[in-house]
Every structure is written in C-alpha cells, then in structure tokens.
C-alpha cells in the first residue's frame, strides 16, 4: 500500500476513500460552474437571437488572431496540466516531470493573460467600450461588447485563480512541504483548470467567429 497516510485527513479512515471524495467533490463543483458560465452563454444566445445583425457586426470588429492564439495557448496549457496530473498519479519517480509540467501550465496561463491584456488595449483604442464614443453604429452591438467585457473578465478571474492554485502546488512541491506523488490536490487543480479551458473553448466561437462570413 502506498504510504500516503501523510496525506490522510479528518474524517477519512482510508486514503483511497478521501481521494475519491475529493474527485467527486470537485466534479460537483464543476457541474455548478457549468451552470454558472452556462447562464452567461444563455444571456449571449438570447441577445444574439434578438439582434443577429448587430452581433454579426460586433463579431467582425473583434481581432480573430488574438482569439485564436489565446485558444491555442489555453489548449496547450490543458495538455501540460493533463500530463502533470497523470504523471502525479503514477507511483514511481515522476516529481521532476510533474513540476516542469505545472511550471509550463502556469507560464501558458500567464501568457494568455498577457495576450488578453494587449487585446483589451487594442479594443479600448478601437473605442469598443460600450458607452458614449462607441465605434459601431448598431445599438445592440453595445450589448455584445457589454457581454464581451464581462464574460472575458470573469473568465480571466477564474484563470488567475487557476494560476494561483498551480503556482501554490509548484512552490509547496518544490520545497517538499507537500508530497506531489498521488496528491489529490494536483488532480483537483487540473480538473478546475480544464474547466476554465473548456469555458474559453466555448467563448471563442461566440466572440470571435460571428459575422465572419458576411
């Protein structure tokens, strides 16, 4: 049996039960996050159905290259944290692989934030902030950008929380204050990270692809 009793915590008697509970708990939380972002997607969908042309015009005004690069970055970060999580689950020496992958994930997450920052700056310069001097003429385009700023902002906050969690694992792991091997926290952080990635996977077609064809 693995000597994971160091990780055992109240009220569990067996480590394997605690690990299952942790995984089950995070998945329930991810179900609630699905509805959290799902409600935002519903708001977008209803506004788009009610104002198709304005949303198409607004979609055209976004910079698709920023969106595509950012999506690629997040997909890669999902790869690295998946490898980290699966490596951590193995029994024999995989500590260096886990730490490098976690480092890559945090770096990619940070890169996403940086690219997002440039995109925000460009959007502000192009007067895409709803309000007085709004660039586009359609009134409902301001709804699109109202949602754009809110949804990408909330997503960025969730991503920042993810980066903090990953960095925490790296610091505690590197200084050997927690055992990385078979530590449920790595899998829980990975699952949370994948959710933030999936939210962005859905945001990409909603923000960057409307109106490209006309």
């Amino acid at each position: 049996m693995t000597d994971a009793t160091a990780l055992l915590r109240e009220p569990w008697e067996r480590f394997e039960r605690q690990q299952r509970a942790g995984k089950f708990g995070i998945w329930i939380f991810l179900a609630s996050e699905t509805l959290f972002f799902g409600a935002l997607m519903l708001t977008y969908a209803v506004c788009r159905v009610e104002h198709p042309d304005a949303f198409a015009a607004a979609g055209r005004a976004t910079n698709i290259w920023f969106g595509t690069i950012n999506t690629a970055i997040l997909l890669t970060s999902s790869l690295t944290i998946a490898v980290a999580s699966q490596a951590a689950a193995q029994s024999e020496r995989s500590r260096t692989l886990v730490l490098t992958c976690l480092g890559l994930t945090a770096a990619l997450g940070f890169a996403f934030i940086v690219v997002k920052g440039f995109e925000y700056k460009e959007d502000i310069d192009k007067h895409l902030v709803p309000g007085a001097g709004f660039a586009l003429s359609e009134a409902a385009a301001q709804l699109f950008y109202g949602l754009y700023w809110l949804v990408t902002g909330v997503h960025a906050i969730h991503l920042t929380i993810g980066i903090v969690l990953v960095v925490r694992l790296i610091v505690l792991g590197a200084t050997r204050r927690i055992r990385l091997r078979e530590n449920p926290e790595i899998e829980v952080t990975a699952l949370y990270w994948h959710l933030v990635d999936i939210v962005w996977i859905f945001l990409y077609p909603l923000i960057y692809l409307p109106g490209r064809a006309s």
């Binding site: 104002h51 042309d53 304005a54 359609e138 009134a139």
Partner: protein, 313 residues
C-alpha cells in the same frame, strides 16, 4: 369607507376567470376537508392510550392503493390544466374590430390616448360592450396595467409594445392599479376606467379638446422630422415608399420576410439598420432618443393611415 367583499364581474373575461376560480375553490375545499378531516379523526381516534384497533395496515392499503390515487391526483391536475388553458387560449388575441387605445406608462402615472387623439391621464373612458385593445409601452421601468374588475393584468415593458384587451359588460367606474413594483410612488400610480353607454361615449369623445388625432399629429412629425424628404411619394430619393405599406409583407435584404405591423414600423424608426428592405442601402439615421414613445406611436398611426387611404379609393 365601504369594505369590498365581492369583486364586480365587469368584463366578458371576468366571468370565465371566476368560473375557473370557483372550480379551483371547490377542489381545494374538498381536498382541505379531506386532509383536515383525516388529520383530526386520526388524531382523536388513535391518540395514545385510546383503545382503537391497531395492528398491521389492512391489506387493501398497499402499493396499488398508493399508485391509483397518485394517478387520480395526476389526472385531476392535468384536467384542471386543460380547463384553465382552454379558457386562456381562447382569450389571447383581441377581436379585429377592437377599439385601439395607446397606453403610455411612466413613473407613477398612466397616459392613455384614443385613436382620435383624445388624451387622458390616469383615466380611460371606454364604451360598453365594445372590445378595447390596449397597445402599451413604458418610458422607464416595468409597470403593470391591472384592472381587477376586468380580471386583466399585463406588464408594460420599456422599449417594447405589450398588448391586452377587454370587453366591458358593466357600466361604472373601476379602479386601475399598477401591479409591478416601479419605485417610490408605485402605490400611488392608480387610475380609473369609466365604462359609459355607447352614445354617452360618442358624446364624450366629441367633446374632447380637438387635439389632432394620432394620424394628423404623425403627418406633422413626418414633415418636421424630415421623413418626407426621402419617404414622401413625390421624393426623388431612392427610399422605400410607405403608401399601402401597413399590413404588407416586406422582403428584406438578407432574405427574411417580415409583416409590416406596429412592431416593424417602430423598429424601423428606432433601429433602421435592423431590417433593411431588399434593394435599398442602410442609409436611414436612427431616431432613437430623438422621438419619444408618444411621437413614435403618432408616426406609426400616420403611416398606417397612408395604407388605409389607398384602400378607400
């Protein structure tokens, strides 16, 4: 101060609503009597220490018993749904010959406007026995047009038209209330609906100050706001002509087809780039913010009247 114990049934719809209400009261009363009766009898008969018969439940009270009365309850409720829904679906759309009244709700007052231009504040005079269609919009927050005597209530939304209708069947004055919370004086936003005889109403209507009726007001706006520059029949500018437009289906540039009703005219004035007519450029400026809702309603009435003149010739 007379306490009200019964509500007058002053519209055709009221009678039907009261009918359904009565059925539901009977069903509820029976169910309550059953539940309370059982509770009390069991409580008394099987109180601790009483010498009533205990022991196992009788055989009939088993799984099938529970399944059957669950199904019975289910069928009763579905029947009630069907009964209520049929009454509702019947009363959805106003009859075509309904008298049209435009209602404008704004924070804490009701403005009503008859089709011939007569305007009232917190008042509405309607003829007996003739259906009245209310086309309502709000200038600020959500209000709700509630006339208990007619059993009608309809939220009034900003930026959109909502409709309801009634046919008064009793003479008299009935309270009008705002039923959707709308701020400080929500409870003061009340008015009166006065139902008059057919001829009294006609006399009252003619005595109203000779304000232009909606269509004439619309005509003046049509010129003063510069619509005639492009849309007048004589204008050389390549813009959609409005004669006979009302009620026709319009072919749009992106292939969709829309019926030119009130909502279409309103959208074309406030958000012209939304539905561009086939074969035309999206040049028309938006009038959102320049025209208040009352003026938009007058312009719509004027454009409608263009269509009607054509039918008369």
């Amino acid at each position: 101060m007379t306490t009200v114990f019964t509500l007058p049934e002053a519209s055709t719809h009221a009678a039907r609503v009261d009918g359904i209400f009565a059925i539901l009261v009977v069903v509820s009363a029976l169910t309550l009597a059953l539940v309370f009766g059982l509770l009390v009898t069991f409580a008394i008969r099987y109180r601790r220490g009483s010498n009533a018969k205990r022991g196992r439940l009788p055989e009939i009270v088993n799984r099938e018993f529970e399944v059957s009365w669950t199904a019975a309850t289910g069928f009763l409720f579905v029947f009630l749904f069907w009964w209520a829904a049929s009454a509702d679906v019947g009363a959805l759309t106003a009859p075509t010959n309904a008298l049209e009244v435009h209602v404008l709700a704004k924070q804490w007052m009701w403005k009503t406007q008859h089709s011939n231009g007569a305007r009232e504040i917190d008042e509405l005079h309607v003829p007996l026995g003739q259906p009245v269609r209310l086309v309502m919009t709000s200038q600020d927050v959500i209000h709700s047009f509630f006339v208990p005597a007619f059993r009608i209530k309809q939220d009034v939304l900003p930026g959109r038209n909502t409709e309801t209708w009634f046919k008064a069947t009793k003479l008299g004055v009935f309270p009008l209330l705002c039923a959707e919370y709308c701020g400080t004086d929500h409870s003061a936003m009340r008015g009166r609906i006065t139902v008059m005889g057919e001829d009294d109403y006609a006399r009252w209507l003619s005595r109203q100050p000779e304000g232009d009726d909606l269509a004439h007001l619309g005509a003046k706006l049509f010129v003063s706001q510069g619509c005639s520059g492009c849309h007048a029949a004589s204008s050389s500018v390549h813009a959609p002509k409005l004669n006979g437009l009302y009620g026709r289906t319009v072919q749009l540039s992106d292939g969709r087809q829309l019926k030119a009703d009130d909502a279409y005219l309103r959208d074309s004035i406030l958000q012209p780039k939304r539905d561009i007519v086939a074969g035309f450029e999206p040049l028309m400026p938006s009038f959102a913010g320049l025209l208040d809702d009352g003026e938009v309603q007058s312009l719509t009435a004027y454009i409608r009247s263009l269509g009607q003149e054509q039918d008369h010739e």
